[in-house]
Symmetry: C2
């Protein structure tokens, strides 16, 4: 219930996320540029990532490691395809470029990821103290 709040709390600076995910700052910012994560910002404009953001980046990394490109990852991770305009175009193009086999593979990954990350419950007994 409030687990969502907890998982969405902006907590980590990019340095921490780098070591947590073993992604470079460049990569993390690039994925953000493509709308795959939306870290909060401090007053001073520094990124602050939540547990959900980190999970997201770990998903992305898995997909990257499996050879999926940006377009594919967007297809998999961005739920509502009817909102952006630039992305929508790209996504359509991608769809045509993927074979049935590839699509099945992506779908499988998607389900695997969904399952994996829905289990991510982050029950931290005293996390309630983190909210005022």
């Amino acid at each position: 219930m409030s687990d969502n709040i907890r998982r969405n709390m902006p907590l980590f600076p990019i340095g921490t996320v780098m070591s947590l995910t073993e992604l470079s700052a460049r990569q993390i910012r690039y994925y953000e540029e493509h709308g795959l994560v939306n870290p909060a910002r401090t007053e001073g404009n520094r990124r602050l990532f939540s547990f959900n953001d980190v999970s997201r980046l770990l998903e992305i990394k898995d997909l990257i490691d499996q050879g999926v490109n940006m377009a594919g990852i967007k297809k998999i991770l961005i739920p509502n395809p009817t909102e952006s305009d630039e992305e929508e175009k790209e996504e359509k193009v991608v769809k045509k470029e993927l074979s049935d086999n590839e699509l099945r593979k992506l779908l499988k990954d998607e389900l695997i990821q969904a399952g994996r990350f829905n289990r991510t419950s982050l029950r931290q007994g005293d996390m309630s103290r983190f909210f005022h």
Copy 2:
């Protein structure tokens, strides 16, 4: 089991800890000076706090709010009194200064705190991915 590892991972810069605990940087550093927390450091010497550190600071804050002073907090939170030399002296002095009533109060707080923070399990389904 590896929950301990998870809870001890250096994750948070002092700014995050400030908003999480509502303590000032000055206070946090002061408590560290007194050995109440031992945050890790980055290569560049910036503090990185773990969940345990944050819990510790929240305990400290509770005690402060209850009117307990540094000496009392040390008494309560530092487990092994036979290790430091400077602290040991101070602690002995304090012991004499506390009335029976105060001692009971501190003991009660200690038990309350212990109970509260032993329940802090931090089971985060996918936290295992945070370790390499």
